[in-house]
Symmetry: C2
Subunit: 309 residues, 2 copies
């Protein structure tokens, strides 16, 4: 590889830690060599690969669905939790907490086939815009992270997403957004029911939660979906702490990174008080646990790619 593989990263200790780590695990004659099959990297998605503030992108998506449902059943406008979503009452939504909010997002699509759902998500991403950032949601991915994913893959890593977001929602966009195929996306999920519809086998989304992929469930789902301990983990909240510790307490070279949203000018600044994805314990313990803190303000030369026309 010629030139700087991470041009959107500022020179400094974080960029150097990444470059050094990759150099060490790929040096075939070195003491820290890791064979390519073991080069597993897992990334959180919301707040790590794309923005999550003031609401996760999937929550914006669910709002649209709730508006459709409320058109058929106007009584929803008077009932919580729907009222808060329909009125975009962010304070009330924040107070519900992450799992409750995602649970509502997941169940709004019960009864739909996975294929119809994927089409709906793709259609929505084609036009929907982030209200604060004024750019299409698909352009709310972080450019430094896309460079990092490319860089890791160019060095023999397999890159996975392990996120609290809905697995089917993410898969509709991750190949285009990050070059990550569906089978390398792990997320929260509802149970799927196989049925034949007019002779065609379909997978139908139910309202029953399969798993909410957050906190201790993240390493458990890594066990289920990947079956190896990652050697590289990137997260941004307390929800990623168990996954970071799982990776960092393994043998051999490990790198765990935690993005701190401290950049109100270019993106957002929040941590402890953001009830939908707090960063508190992981921030306090980062040093003790060997986690490398990444200040968005300091570490990233650029946050977003220029929006397309």
């Amino acid at each position: 590889m010629t030139g700087d593989p991470l041009p959107s990263w500022n020179e400094g200790p974080v960029k150097q830690a990444i470059l050094d780590f990759v150099a060490r695990v790929t040096a075939e004659d070195g003491p820290d060599f890791v064979p390519p099959t073991e080069r597993i990297a897992t990334f959180d998605n919301d707040g790590t690969l794309w923005c999550e503030y003031p609401l996760q992108i999937q929550v914006f998506f669910a709002q649209q669905r709730l508006h459709e449902l409320a058109a058929a059943d106007p009584s929803m406008r008077q009932r919580q939790p729907y009222k808060a979503f329909l009125e975009h009452d962010v304070a009330t939504i924040h107070a519900m907490g992450k799992e409750a909010v995602f649970d509502i997002a997941f169940t709004t699509h019960a009864g739909m086939s996975t294929e119809a759902f994927a089409d709906l998500v793709a259609d929505w991403f084609a036009h929907a815009k982030h209200p604060q950032l004024g750019r299409r949601f698909v352009e709310c991915t972080f450019l430094p992270q896309r460079e990092l994913l490319d860089y890791l893959r160019a060095n023999g890593f397999r890159t996975f997403i392990v996120s609290g977001g809905g697995i089917d929602f993410m898969r509709a966009i991750t190949e285009q957004a990050y070059g990550i195929p569906p089978e390398q996306v792990v997320g929260s999920s509802v149970k799927l029911r196989f049925e034949l519809q007019d002779g065609r086998g379909m997978l139908v989304k139910t309202a029953e939660l399969g798993s909410f992929d957050d906190r201790e469930v993240k390493p458990a789902n890594i066990g289920l979906h990947i079956g190896r301990r990652p050697i590289f983990v990137f997260g941004n909240s307390d929800g990623d702490l168990a996954m970071l510790r799982y990776a960092l307490t393994g043998d051999g070279p490990r790198l765990g990174l935690l993005l701190h949203h401290d950049d109100a000018e270019r993106e957002f600044a929040y941590d402890r008080e953001f009830h939908l994805s707090p960063l508190a314990e992981a921030l306090d313990k980062a040093n003790a646990y060997g986690i490398t803190l990444v200040s968005m303000k300091d570490a990233w030369r650029t946050v977003f790619a220029p929006p397309s026309a």
Copy 2:
């Protein structure tokens, strides 16, 4: 590619169907071209990639564990279902049915970490032998299928296992046996619990079933783990019928194959009456559903590779 990619397959309609299918989906200018990202192939394991008669290989493995447990608690020798396993009472084990038998196999390792379990499985495979076939279990894989997996991968397919077998059990051996990495293995699973043991994050196997990956659960787990409809499926029992139909009722070119164990001389001959993995409905409906039947006796020139010294 030069030479015959499938030398252990006899010339005939099945081999020709496979070669034709791969040629069609990889012909970039042809009407049936499928981009590499969509070339998903799923294989059952027990009875499809390796033998499963008279007991699935994992059941033999669980028997050893039950002997260890019974040494500590001799009352197990008098209690069913353990008595049948400990006495190798195959008729009684068969009568229990597949899910009950595997459920016993899965729960015998509750409380163990996934890493300790993987070591135990690897140790067992290093020496344990199939009592009827007289060869090490790891050499009970079918040579024609290993050639087929290689051939598909050489043509841009991603090969997955989707099996009723335990996901952690299979993963300990699938890379060596088939060139299939852990993250491309889907199977039955118990729930995992993340915990810190002496400061090290571990995944502990519980006794709680996550999913029993058989029949309609197979396409549902394909939805969870892979997120795409396969275009190529190979199975051997009624437990694979839903997965075969899921693949075959999609749009575009599809190939679904069903191995019929009709070769008592080289392997085993069984179908309807094998209670641990019956082949009945799928055999009766194969023609109607567009499934290609594969007679082991007719289709395979060789069944097993020569055993190692």
